[in-house]
Subunit: 148 residues, 2 copies
DNA sequence: TCTAAATATAGACCGTGTCTAAATTGAGCT
DNA sequence: AGCTCAATTTAGACACGGTCTATATTTAGA
């Protein structure tokens, strides 16, 4: 029993979610590939190995996992939602050339920042979204962004 | 000739976009209603008065205006894209109860912030997305968020 | 006024995501 | 192991946001 698999099992138990093979495969993919995958990418990946999962099941599980807090839906540029199994608080970087979404480890805003600008709003959370060129794209001249 | 209309005309001329009635109506709506409207909301608003514009035209113009830099597509929660005619650099606040998207006037991150966390990435821009309750929702007890 | 390029339009089409209804599976019980 | 029932899976229909195509109209400019 691998470390990951026992961690996932425990997460399922804590969330009162049955550890089905399909659900396991979805969460495992997100845990192992921290690239903020879309539902379609997860669907493809899961169906490359066994067990297979239908499109509906991938969506169902992403919703269930999100509700249970084991996965987050992250804001993204395109129309397709992206999912994140990194539960630690963090910022994001979006590469404008290859569209990669990368994690930026957390740091707080200085406590005074934006105090006036925020007016009477009750802020419970925030995130910084950085944009620019990722390391691979920065080093390549191509117009298309570095390839995978 | 109103101040707004001459400003818009000038913007069109500078962007080498023909000032058609439909295009004018789309940009005018965004300039006057700074609520980060969706394409559908703009379509509805424009078709309440003259001139009318087809759905395709609204989308075409939003793309053209975005390419010309007269409008920005802003990240949003739902599946529908939201557009912003506020060209000044600013942050955003998203109300988690009523889904309103509000502008937060710009302030810089302290220059040292996140230096290490950003690694070798070439950051050309950033934005802070705050979440919580807007002023209207903060004051109301309702589960649904304050009404429009 | 004449012409060429830009724009507008209706409707087909596509990708992303949700829903429905029926089949399967899993957990608790005996 | 069998029984039972709720959770889950599944295929396919459906809904929505958005794009594309083909054609008609408008605009800028000569
Ligand atoms: Mn992330
Ligand atoms: Mn804005
Ligand atoms: Zn990149
Ligand atoms: Zn609100």
């Amino acid at each position: 029993m691998s470390k990951l698999s026992s961690e996932l099992d425990q997460a399922f138990r804590a969330a009162a979610l049955r550890p089905t093979a399909q659900r396991y495969a979805v969460l495992e993919f997100l845990a192992e590939h921290r690239v903020h995958a879309t539902a379609e990418e997860i669907f493809d990946a899961v169906n490359r190995n066994d067990p297979r999962a239908s499109r509906a099941t991938v969506y169902n599980n992403l919703r269930a996992l999100a509700k249970a807090g084991l996965v987050r839906e992250v804001m993204s540029e395109g129309k397709a939602a992206r999912f994140d199994a990194n539960l630690r608080r963090h910022h994001h970087f979006i590469c404008e050339r290859c569209s990669a979404v990368e994690d930026i480890s957390w740091f707080d805003l200085p406590p005074s920042a934006g105090r006036a600008a925020l007016g009477g709003r009750n802020v419970t959370n925030y995130e910084i979204v950085f944009r620019g060129s990722c390391v691979r794209c920065r080093d390549s001249k191509s117009k298309q962004g570095a390839k995978s």
